[in-house]
Structures are given as structure tokens and as C-alpha cells.
């Protein structure tokens, strides 16, 4: 392991001003690195939770909306066939078919396994924080190193969402052993590097904040919050939504089978 300059304590009189400044900046960088790692973890948690919720929602409710829209398209197409001269009915059938295709494409194929909610183990969180602290792309000023870190960080995010501690450990070890991890070319250049890393870290902190705010304002988060809030009071709203759409599907099937009732909602 490389010896850090801050670990060496020569007599105060012999410390050069640039070394003192470098030491101060390194302390500042260390604080920011910790904060950045914490924020990245919170951001990754939010992303993973919303991603898992989105998969659950699409699996249980989205797939049913796709079934419902397919039935509605079939009803609209039947009504259009019955009124060949009614342009509105023809257009409504085309719109309904387009909507059904779109819903089907968004909802995707229903997965065989039920998606589960995201919950990271404390060990995984600790590892992720360590990875973020060590290899965060905004903590380097070297372009090549940065590209490598971005790639590793993306892999770390995926591993975290999967709860894959082995992969997280491997990412950390691989980077620690890489030549890019070796630092130091004299105090002057190092001071500039540290200042730039601090600036980058601050920039990234602001970006994370903006990303978090965007996520918290999203419709997906609003929906998840409502469901979470209801769950605290013992209500399974996702289940209720499923039941509601199932009822609509049953009505749609009835309308499709009975031509007369196809004309009313």
C-alpha cells in the first residue's frame, strides 16, 4: 500500500506552505469522499428501490393493463366493423389498437418469477460505500482513469442492485491492485489534482442532489409512496389495484362476448 503524505509528520518549521495546503486539501477531500460515497449509496438505494418497484408494478398491474387494452382494442375494432361509414369509430379503433400495442410493449413479457422489493443487506451497503469512496469517477482528474472508474462504478451499481457482494469485493480488489491506484508526482502537481478532485466531488454532489430531487418528484415515487403509506395501515394497495383491473378485464370480456353491451362502458 502506498504511504500517504499526510502520514508523515516532520518538524513544523520544515513543512513547506504547499505541503501544508496539500494536507488541508486532502483532509477536505477525505471528508468530501465520505460524503460522496454516502450520497451515492442513498442515490443507488433510491434507484434500486424504484427500479424494483417498477418491475413489481409492471408485473402485477402493467401486464393487466396490457390485457385490458388488448380487449378494449378488440371491442373498438368490432364497433368499427359494425359502423364502416363512421369515421370517428374507425379512428377510435385505430387509436385503441395503437394504445394496446404501446401498453403491451411497455409492460413487457410477464416474468415467470415474481419481482421482489429491493432491500440491501448492511454488508452490501458497507461494501458499496467503500467502492464509491475508492473508485468514484469524480475523484480522479486523469481521463483514462476516469473512464475506467465510470465503467467500474456502473458495474458496482448493477452488483449493488442485485445484492452481489462477491462482485463488489472483486471490483474493489481489482481496482486497488491496478496501476491507476498508485498516486504521487510531487506536491505541486498533487495539490492541483486534489483541488480538482474536490471540485469534481462537489459537482457530483450537486448532481446527485438534483437526481434525487428528480426521483422524488417522479410519478413512480409518488405511486410507491402512496402504496408504502397504505401498507403502514395494513392495506395492500397493489393487490387492490390488481383486483380493480381484473374486474375491468372481466367486464371487457363480457362486452366482447355480448355485442349489445359492447356499446356501453
Amino acid at each position: 500500500m502506498a504511504l500517504k503524505e499526510t502520514d508523515v509528520h516532520p518538524p513544523a518549521a520544515s513543512i513547506k506552505p504547499e505541503d501544508q495546503e496539500l494536507a488541508r486539501k486532502r483532509e477536505e477531500q477525505a471528508v468530501l469522499e465520505t460524503e460522496l460515497a454516502d450520497r451515492e449509496l442513498r442515490s443507488a438505494n433510491l434507484r434500486a428501490e424504484l427500479g424494483a418497484f417498477e418491475r413489481q408494478y409492471l408485473h402485477f398491474v402493467g401486464s393487466r393493463y396490457a390485457d385490458l387494452d388488448e380487449l378494449k382494442a378488440q371491442i373498438a375494432e368490432r364497433l368499427a366493423r359494425e359502423q364502416p361509414r363512421n369515421q370517428r369509430a374507425q379512428q377510435a379503433a385505430r387509436d385503441a389498437r395503437a394504445r394496446a400495442n404501446e401498453t403491451k410493449s411497455v409492460a413487457g413479457e410477464k416474468a415467470a418469477e415474481e419481482p421482489r422489493a429491493f432491500r440491501a443487506a448492511p454488508g452490501t451497503k458497507r461494501l458499496y460505500r467503500e467502492v464509491a469512496k475508492r473508485i468514484h469517477p469524480d475523484l480522479t482528474s486523469d481521463r483514462e482513469d476516469r473512464v475506467k472508474r465510470q465503467q467500474l462504478m456502473a458495474e458496482a451499481n448493477e452488483a449493488y442492485e442485485r445484492g452481489d457482494e462477491t462482485r463488489l469485493t472483486k471490483i474493489l480488489t481489482e481496482y486497488e491492485c491496478s496501476p491507476e491506484a498508485v498516486q504521487g508526482e510531487g506536491p505541486g502537481a498533487e495539490l492541483v489534482r486534489v483541488i480538482r478532485r474536490i471540485s469534481q466531488a462537489r459537482g457530483r454532489l450537486a448532481e446527485i442532489e438534483a437526481e434525487m430531487q428528480e426521483a422524488l418528484r417522479s410519478d413512480l415515487y409518488q405511486l410507491k409512496s402512496r402504496l408504502d403509506e397504505a401498507q403502514k395501515h395494513g392495506r395492500d394497495v397493489l393487490k387492490e389495484m390488481v383486483a380493480k383491473v381484473d374486474e375491468q378485464i372481466a367486464q371487457a370480456k363480457h362486452r366482447l362476448e355480448d355485442p349489445e353491451s359492447a356499446r356501453t362502458p
Binding site: E54, E102, A107, R263
Partner: protein, 379 residues
């Protein structure tokens, strides 16, 4: 202290923010919407204050006078019903936004949206007594046309935008005019292609508008083109509290080949069925169905003051200001084949109703700015 860059490429690189891409956005919004309602009706507050003149567009916008500020500054404003937000204010050159006290047209206004909601025709007492045509998408006033003694009572656009009608009151000077669509920058002809005064068979008013002659023609009211655009139906309003209005049906392009049907009481609304064969109308709080061009009519088993037929299904959305055994009003749907009423919802002060272009939703607006959106899962 000397520092140097390793290479020209060794510069701080901006990392793009890791935004949350939600592929399911539309389905999430749909789920949220379904969560917030316990019926097929969704209620929203669109504006505060009171306004009685408005027109809902097929895409869910409403054009109305800004909430009442008597003798103060008022504007014609467009609101988005779904977003419950003001979109833009419409203005014309020389607009004052104030009324002259005692003016006949004080607070009079009429609006009509084109079928695609791109164009809006507006007339207002604070503007010159003309029709002003706005391109809402382009956010510009295209021009003014038609000159009126009084602001028209009702404006109507036909199904594909081929014809446009303006119906005015004013007794002796009341007219019904039809314009035709053009392919020019101004999408309506400068001059009307047809114009009539009092319909044949109705006693015209002899004196000026200051005299209310019982039983004489007061003017034209609610007008609607048939979905096939061949015919125009317009309410011929008669003076007097207990007078009976009539429905004039004439050819859209010429206003000729008129037929007149006398109703019972004052007519508050009329709408064509999707097959263009029948008219559903509301007179003195009761709904009726009339076979177009014939004297055959039947009272329908419900009361209503406003009604609009679905663009291609035998459905009608209605509003009645009072309910039997209750002072409260309601919105409701009618299956015109089975004559059954369903999806009722308490509502008061509704002044405009319409279906969306594809018929998947119906919108209603009240004087106090409440919007009722009918959006059943199966339409």
C-alpha cells in the same frame, strides 16, 4: 511551484447525471389516476372565481373569461383541465378588458373550438363586435370576421371543420350565419356562405330590442351541425317566460330546406346522435328525442338541461340541475338504446359539456371552475 498537465486530454470531464429513466411512465400515471378515484368521474378545480361563458376543447382545454372582476380588468384565458393550470391569455388589438356600465353586451362572450382544438373562435363584449379567430397551436390571432350588432349567443364548428356557424339574438336583428372552411392562412371564409334572419313560420319582432314582445322571435341559441355535416340544427328562441322555443333544421351549406319543430318550453341544449338521424334536446328541464326532419318526438325517461352525444356510440352525457326528491344536481350517462341511466355523479352549476375527440373521455365545467372528467376504463 510548477505544475504541468500530463497531456492535453487530462482535463476534468463532465459526468452526465444518472437520471432515472422510467419506461413505464404512462402506465404509472394511469395507476396513480386510477388510485385517486372511486368512480368513473374525476373531479378537479381548474380555476377560482366565477365564470359562466366557456367552451371546452376536444383535447381537454377550456376557454373562459377570467374570474369575474366587475368593471375591472378581465381576460379571455385558456386553462388545461387535466393540469388545472392557466395556459395562456388571448388578446386582440385595442382590447380594454373593461366594460361600459349598462352596455347591452356587458360580459357577453361566446367561444368555439375547431374539431382538432387547433383553432378557437372567440367573441367578447370587451372586444370589437366581431368573431376573432386564434391559432392556439401557433399562439396567434389570425384575424377577425363577421360584424354583429350584438355578440353571438352561440358558435358551432362542424365535425371535420368544414362549416362554422354563429347564432345571434337581438330579436329583429338576430341572424344565423354559416362560414365555410378554406385552405388559406385564415381557415374560414371571410364572408358567410349563408345567412338567415327569423325562420319562416315564426313571428318576427316588430320593434327594437328594448321591447320584449311576448311570443315573438328572440333570436338563435344553441346550434349544432349533424355529424355527417349535412344539416345544422339551431334553437329558435321565443320571447316570454312560458313561451315554447323551436328547433330549426336546415342544410348546412345554404340554410335552405328548413324544417321547424316546436318544442315545449325553452330549449337549453341540443345534440345530434352519431348516425345524424336524431336530435336529443332538453326543454324546460326535460330530455326529448326528435327524428330529424319529422315531427316525431318522444320524451326520454330523464330530466336534463345539458346533453352531448358520444361521437360514435349510442351514449349521451347529461347534466340536470335538480334531482327528484333532492335539490341537488347530477351528471349522468344515458344508454340511448336501452334508455338506462348510469354513472351518476352529484354536480352543480355545470355550464359546458363535451366528449374528447376519440370519445374516451367526457369533460364538464362548472361556473365555479370545477371540472368533471368522465373516464371509464372501458371506453
Amino acid at each position: 511551484m510548477e505544475t504541468h498537465e500530463k497531456s492535453a486530454t487530462k482535463q476534468i470531464v463532465h459526468t452526465p447525471p444518472q437520471g432515472l429513466a422510467v419506461r413505464s411512465a404512462a402506465l404509472v400515471v394511469r395507476g396513480l389516476r386510477d388510485l385517486t378515484r372511486d368512480s368513473n368521474w374525476l373531479i378537479k378545480k381548474v380555476f377560482t372565481g366565477q365564470s359562466s361563458h366557456m367552451a371546452i376543447s376536444p383535447s381537454g382545454q377550456v376557454c373562459t373569461l377570467s374570474p369575474q372582476v366587475r368593471y375591472g380588468s378581465q381576460r379571455v384565458v385558456l386553462y388545461d383541465i387535466e393540469l388545472s393550470a392557466a395556459m395562456m391569455a388571448l388578446s386582440v388589438p385595442g382590447e380594454t378588458g373593461t366594460f361600459q356600465p349598462g352596455s347591452v353586451d356587458e360580459e357577453a362572450a361566446a367561444f368555439a373550438w375547431s374539431p382538432t382544438a387547433r383553432y378557437l373562435v372567440a367573441a367578447w363584449g370587451a372586444w370589437h363586435p366581431q368573431l376573432h379567430l386564434f391559432d392556439v397551436h401557433g399562439k396567434m390571432l389570425l384575424g377577425a370576421f363577421g360584424v354583429f350588432d350584438r355578440i353571438p349567443q352561440n358558435l358551432a364548428w362542424s365535425e371535420t371543420g368544414k362549416y362554422f356557424a354563429a347564432a345571434s339574438s337581438g330579436g329583429k336583428g338576430a341572424t344565423l350565419r354559416v362560414w365555410q372552411a378554406t385552405r388559406q392562412e385564415m381557415p374560414l371564409s371571410k364572408s358567410p356562405v349563408a345567412e338567415i334572419g327569423a325562420p319562416q313560420g315564426i313571428e318576427p319582432q316588430t320593434y327594437g330590442e328594448g321591447f320584449e314582445e311576448e311570443g315573438a322571435f328572440r333570436g338563435y341559441g344553441k346550434s349544432a351541425f349533424s355529424p355527417n355535416e349535412n344539416m345544422l340544427a339551431s334553437v329558435a328562441s321565443i320571447q316570454g317566460e312560458w313561451a315554447d322555443d323551436s328547433i330549426l333544421i336546415a342544410e348546412s351549406h345554404s340554410l335552405q330546406n328548413q324544417s321547424l319543430f316546436q318544442a315545449q318550453g325553452h330549449i337549453t341544449d341540443l345534440t345530434w346522435t352519431p348516425d345524424s338521424r336524431q336530435i336529443v334536446y332538453c326543454a324546460a328541464g326535460q330530455a326529448y328525442r326528435l327524428a330529424a326532419g319529422s315531427p316525431d318526438f318522444e320524451p326520454l325517461p330523464f330530466g336534463a338541461e345539458l346533453c352531448v352525444c358520444h361521437p360514435h356510440l349510442p351514449l349521451c352525457v347529461c347534466f340536470s340541475s335538480w334531482l327528484k326528491n333532492s335539490a341537488k344536481g347530477r351528471m349522468f350517462l344515458v344508454d340511448l338504446n336501452r334508455m338506462t341511466v348510469f354513472d351518476e355523479y352529484a354536480a352543480e352549476g355545470v355550464v359546458d359539456l363535451r366528449w374528447s375527440l376519440d370519445g374516451s373521455k367526457a369533460f364538464a365545467m362548472t361556473q365555479s371552475g370545477m371540472a368533471y372528467i368522465y373516464e371509464p376504463a372501458l371506453l
